[in-house]
Subunit: 337 residues, 2 copies
DNA sequence: ATGAAAGCGCTAACAG
DNA sequence: CTGTTAGCGCTTTCAT
């Protein structure tokens, strides 16, 4: 049944045409110094004439290296596209890799069959992988770390493994800082809409929130758990309002959720920041276009992507790199606090 | 310098452990019928114990097939993420492929080095590719069609090639239909904000617009050319207004641009649909959340992605498929016309 | 500086 | 049903 694939010219063909051995062609292709200019020209011409491109599978088999890395997003397609954070990280990684010999291949891990992705990764298709948005329940990638160089974006929840490389912001201090802004505003009944508690970033942000409160001698007015989507922010805020809880400040763990929460508050006739002071994390389109614009902690996902890629490449090349890279964040004061 | 990669167990190792030949292991791995249950169990156990995963490069080299296909987006990362159309197509393709043995690998073609992507594609990394959003200037992919099964999303501009497989809507009739809605409203001074004229879809939509007008005995009030982004829609609409052109209807070639245009009209104090009737193409978040919600032609990008994938797989398997697949569209009447 | 030869890990006839 | 034997296209010692 299989259609005869148009045969690509092989290295051997190039060798014949150039009148040299396959070894020499290989040397030229790989930019080895030790080739006579004369032979080199002949080979290059043959390559051009035949429109030759080396077969990657063969090369990869021979040298045990693929020159490709994967960016794995263990999240469904809809969420992936809805969250500007992913876009930025991908962009940063892609940009960094553009100047290297490496290809970036984006793997949206299908919820239906996560094993498919791991098998692909372990099947020698890539030299390493960047893993994003790692839910705790999902141990598949953490375990993979022993077999393939991995770099995580955001801390993973597994603690029993060493040799886990991660690039992240300090989520605890970020949340703490954001919460302090509210406290400094004089607010005392402060709630939070936290992120999914199976992710490291969410846990840390909740910790930071609690710490800030504790240091000011306060108790949380309420703690709700969302899933980082605007809808969950909206729904939880409405719940909070409907519950009759008395609050005058809220730290929301992501700009997307804060965006939704703001709408719910507007619907409920709550003024921001007069009635409620709100701060959040992420300086994306949601933060900037919210009404009012959100006071927030900017991380720099684009830079994060680039750094992740850089570290992975270094690991692949056997250079030693620190296990943790903590990125700076920035407090952006806008109108919502 | 290269770090010793942790050696994955090979098929040979499995064979030894199971006490059979490599061929038998291969048979089991590939699900051949003709293996004694007994041997099969032994092999399966060995595989489990060794945590064996076949090396793809080797397999692919041996059987001349990779079981991976690429989805190529010749567009920069920012545009890719900003346009819900891409998200939907990817989603559709990913979903379809989830039930097959094929991996989907997303290639954001870097503007800096398009040759890198083509080389990757030709290097035998994938069995075929889906190509999206094809600008005319870019012949690289059309030419690739001779060497690798390709399926395009949206018609390509190259006319000299046969064997070009494309999945698309009928852009001419879609635009015509959208324009007719405006005409039926009794409007006579109708302008258009078209898409980039180096893309087939844009050209066709302009053609459909012009045809509808011609059949009603009308001339375009104005023809502006945007780039499918909301910003371009905004800017062009402001230009149109500032130019003093007299118009009471406008067909905008994409919902993103229409979204921007609507804002500009609101700024200019133009009422929609009282003063100006507007229709567009795409039923995405922009169309639905615009003020007022947009009357539009819905294409079904998710289905398009799935169909593209389906056709590509069939081609890879040597089945014969039609070169053109035209998808249905749907007129959605909302408040803007 | 170059060629010969031995694989990389797997699959695919071909015997048996 | 199973093992033997060739490769797939490329890289890489090792000689020369």
């Amino acid at each position: 049944m299989s259609e005869p694939r148009k045969q690509q010219p092989t290295l051997e063909l190039v060798a014949e045409r150039a009148g040299v051995s396959r070894a020499t062609v290989s040397r030229v292709v790989n930019g080895s110094e030790k080739v006579k200019p004369e032979a080199m020209r002949a080979v290059e011409q043959a390559i051009r004439e035949l429109n030759y491109v080396p077969n990657r599978a063969a090369r990869s088999l021979a040298q045990g290296r693929t020159n490709a890395i994967a960016l794995v997003v263990p999240e469904n397609t809809a969420k992936f596209f809805a969250d500007p954070y992913f876009a930025k990280v991908v962009q940063g990684a892609a940009q960094y890799l553009a100047d290297t010999e490496f290809m970036l291949s984006l793997l949206l891990s299908t919820e239906s069959d996560p094993g498919k992705t791991t098998r692909y990764l372990r099947g020698g298709n890539v030299d390493g992988a960047l893993v994003l948005s790692h839910h705790a329940a999902d141990r598949s990638y953490a375990d993979l770390g022993g077999q393939l160089p991995l770099v995580f974006g955001g801390r993973t929840m597994s603690t029993d493994q060493s040799e886990i490389f991660v690039v992240d912001i300090d989520n605890i201090s970020a949340a703490k800082q954001a919460t302090e802004v509210i406290i400094e505003r004089g607010r005392r009944r402060i709630a939070t809409i936290a992120g999914p508690q199976d992710m490291g970033a969410s846990l840390d942000r909740l910790t930071g929130f609690t710490q800030a409160l504790a240091e000011a001698g306060l108790e949380p007015a309420a703690v709700l758990e969302g899933d980082f989507t605007p809808d969950s922010g909206h729904d939880l805020m409405r719940q909070l309002v409907d519950s009759g809880t008395d609050f005058d400040g809220v730290f929301v763990a992501s700009a997307q959720m804060a965006f939704g929460a703001l709408q719910a508050m507007a619907d409920a006739g709550l003024g921001v920041p007069q009635d409620v002071s709100v701060t959040t994390v992420d300086d994306d389109a949601f933060a900037r276009n919210a009404t009012p614009p959100l006071t927030t902690i900017a991380q720099h996902p684009e830079r994060q992507g680039a750094i992740m890629a850089e570290i992975l490449i270094k690991r692949i090349n056997g250079e030693s790199v620190p296990e943790w890279s903590i990125m700076d964040t920035e407090l952006i004061l806008r109108a919502s606090h």
